[in-house]
Symmetry: D2
């Protein structure tokens, strides 16, 4: 049994504790949160949990082998470093940290200490993403031409993070997992409507040397929640609508039709050309698989993980690149307005 | 009766002839197309139509007061100038022409000749767009924060036009009509998958001094046809899904919720907060209204039009700005790749 | 060229004329309607059509080989008999007539005169129905267990027909075409809300010796239009939603799962078990195929037709059986109320 | 604190325990199930629960004030009587029991003992049903003309109950709650495909003296799960689609249009006539409210309940009437087949 503690018992903490409790390799020993009401909630839910107010206390506990860090992003680096230094294995919520520099240090620290460092890129364990990777690996999609993500909802406006750092880690980790290729060039633009320094709408475009183009439409300002990713290839196209529970994935037989000029006379006969196939995507909870992976790597059942520190670092590097482009664009817009006024 | 001729009898020509024939102010006298099979099609559909192979012949016909130009974009300027010089009123398919320079000349020419020049920005007459404008004018939406368009389908790949010039005129004309404000700054990026010099996926972002941000996701590479425009404001948000025939427009009562930090503990309770209202949007054909407008302006029943040459020129200026940004980005990507290889 | 006349130029007449005109084997010679405005409409649409007010005049015209009857149902028998007696081939709108007795006479009359008598069971030529039959013929569905139709909309309340005779002919003709088996037992119930003698909601259940059960939910009182037919078999189940233009047919791999008692402990894992496949269903107009069939049988290119008089008679027999059951049930309800009051 | 025990820990038991635990008025003391694996599951989920194999043991426990009965329907009467005789308040899963005779005895027994007897008609506490009742009470719908329910899915085939007794209690309890009127006449038909004595498809029609007609399409043989109830009135129509999480309820402004004969010439212009409104339906768990109601009635905070034994008995009477009609129809079909063979 791996004895584990959870740092942060806010929105996500209860899900972590529930899934850790259901896993036969873990025993949840303690929970920690600076907020009194969160500690109360933890106590009520499970009388046997030890509850701390101070993270260092939990980190220093001799009866704990591993920790999960589910706190605001700005604290990830500090808490993860301290835990690794205290000899604990670490699973961090996404994104790993706030800069590539921090990420490199964490990866190095884990390597030196021979401890496990994983990042909770939960979508990498989602059955739809597994299918997408399988379609790509077997060549069913053909040569990839685009990845197009619409990830919008009415936001929980957070004081310490913008919509890019909140939502893009999902797409970046999915893209890296499916493609095993990093973009050569990232552009981003957007706008701040609610909080004057935190963009709430961001558009990211990533260009790949393989000529794929990826686009992310990220927003906290949409009345409708959409989670739609379209992946196009030379043979097939796939649309993953995560909120369509009965048909999450749809595969379109038809690809691009090259029509000779003369056919343009004809009215387009219908909205699509071939059959549509919707394979079964089981509804299992991806978080349970992340936790199983964490246990397996700690116990040596697995030598490596697709969500290791290095994977987390790659996502942070892409976030940094997108943030740099976003700052440049927002700066230019502001400058124009200043000049004019 | 205004006697009218239609230049170009390809995909759109038959719709124009049918709608002109149904209008009591027009008499369709002649049709012209250089392609033998198109001329045959015109003859079969209506035995009384005069059919020309040469556009100049039609333009020079003394029995014609007005022409509609439904030919490839590259020919719009030449044909429209000749028709105006021959004293004919002109309705051009969108976009008006291929450059602002050409557009200015056409507007000036029409003004000098006291002839009517309209552009078939057909969506400006769409009942959903009329409702959107009404919502904005009455203040129902509040201060606009974004315009987000997803306009994708499996393309009719055209040899002379890219996806920007094919699809963006719809959004640009709608945006100009609703907002009566032009963007101060336009960005664009994209990629060429099928034809190496014509982008088939383009993303456009437009920034407004009023702090609205507009985004267009334009693609000819999608197996599913989507025509979805979301407009967000400080009071309400509207989603227009043009392929949902029963509920084209949905208005969401709820806007952005400002939640205090402590509420972030709670699980997000549902995907949206308020009621949804779907007003009736009659299914009338917008093209019939464009044609009625053309007649009314020619006859002096209307002094001005929302789709006049100046409106067409504004759209062309936006297309030029987007194309410039797109060229710059595609150039930079190409340069990076050259340097590396 | 078969010279043809159309009797009745109301709602459906223009569609008939347009499709007959597009068919190379027919020449539309004349149209007839007692209503002045309908005759005007016919004249405006096609200057070359001869227009009659009196049906007998059209039937007696020597230059006509065949007629289409698109008049109120009560007149079908009289007009069809007269046309057959005058030596014309006849295509009647569905249903063929108002009683089995009439239907038998028409079939006999056509046989005696060696003339063609077809009924416009247009759905038999619909691509989705053709696929359904193919699935059944090849055994892909397995042994059929049910046919369930939801056919509801806001009705055009007609003074001379109830919702059973208006909508059930569609399902009855589809069922007969797919199954080649007639039900052994038909039940029906319903209610009259708007017109006190014409039911506007009717439920029909048909039992087959093959143990299939068919159910029809027919209504003119629904604010939403639904055209949904589900067909279940021992191997697969098919849902045909005729208003879902992109995915009209969906085939569900999974059938009934026989779960042992102990599995009932587990939470039902998801709403369906297998993959979903949506084959392409071309959007062609079925009426064009009905008209082509009429021409082919007249010209002897086809010896028989799936929409011949006998097929029309089978549908009328089922309508009669359902009407009898409906009358019995409505009578019993009325009797109960009388007794009580 | 009301000390409570749960009899039956199969599919529904864990939901009951979770909701009872979350309610401040209850303390869950014990659970009982004859199946070893179910008892294990109960022990693992909560170490403090006392677990019995024998129901009588639990019923006889002096430290228990109330019981919930979540066992197969055939055992409801026996267990509920014993619990009432032992002086316990009782909440029974739906339906209350297997016959009106049993139901009357239970109601009488509870009354004599001054104990609370409720039935878990959970939909009566569903927010969509509450809104439907509100619309009816305020007259917003107008005079009701129909209640039409499509309640189909791939069934958990149960050895002791048919689809009527499994699914109809939902509709019957909803209908009784909204209307406060019982049908005067119930018809039912159906078929047994899987288990030769238990119908898996059943159609029920209920006629009301107020001239409303109710129809239930119940099936365990559908690959797609549907939970759709349409309620029509003289002013508005409401469609409740319980699986459309974002827009569960839709209200259609338009009612029936009485069109004069001449308008039948025109093509039906669109699928619906007026606006559609979708009021917010909060996603709260109805079971929590049932349990709160149980506590409130026990404690005397409420004098009566909409889900009391009498309400449960009314539903059982309707089930009996439908079963009688179903048996008669299935008998007649079998007789026809016998005669013929």
């Amino acid at each position: 049994m791996i004895r584990i503690g959870v740092i942060g018992y806010g929105y996500w903490g209860p899900n972590l504790v529930r899934n850790l409790a259901a896993n036969r390799q873990f025993e949840v020993v303690a929970v920690c949160d600076p907020r009194e009401d969160c500690r109360d909630k933890a106590r009520r839910s499970n009388a046997r949990l030890r509850v701390h107010a101070d993270a260092q206390e939990l980190i220093d506990s001799a009866d704990i082998d591993a920790v999960v860090i589910a706190t605001p992003i700005a604290t990830h680096f500090e808490l993860a470093s301290r835990a690794l230094r205290a000899g604990k294995h670490v699973l961090v919520e996404k994104p790993l940290c706030t800069s590539a520099e921090e990420g490199e240090e964490l990866v190095a620290l884990a390597a030196r200490s021979r401890l496990v460092l994983l990042v909770d890129h939960v979508y990498v364990f989602h059955n739809a993403v597994r299918k997408l990777r399988e379609f790509n690996d077997t060549g069913a999609i053909g040569k990839l031409s685009y990845y197009d993500s619409l990830r919008i909802n009415l936001g929980l406006f957070q004081p310490d993070v913008n919509v890019l750092w909140d939502l893009a880690p999902h797409d970046f980790s999915i893209m890296n997992y499916i493609l095993e290729e990093e973009p050569e060039y990232i552009e981003a633009t957007g706008y701040c409507h609610v909080n004057p320094v935190l963009p709430d709408i961001v558009y990211v475009t990533a260009h790949y040397t393989s000529h794929m183009i990826a686009h992310l439409n990220l927003s906290w300002m949409s009345p409708v929640k959409v989670r739609r990713v379209a992946v196009g290839g030379s043979k097939q196209m796939v649309v993953w609508d995560d909120l369509n529970l009965e048909e999450r994935l749809k595969i379109y037989d038809s690809g691009i039709e090259f029509r000779p000029e003369k056919d343009r006379l004809a009215i387009v006969p219908s909205y699509r050309i071939g059959d549509v196939h919707s394979p079964r995507v089981p509804n299992s909870e991806a978080l349970a698989d992340v936790i199983e992976e964490f246990a397996n790597v700690i116990c040596g059942k697995q030598q490596s993980s697709v969500i290791d520190g290095a994977a987390g670092l790659r996502v942070v590097r892409m976030l940094e690149a997108a943030q740099t482009a976003l700052d440049r664009n927002l700066g230019e817009i502001a400058k124009k307005r200043d000049v004019r006024s």
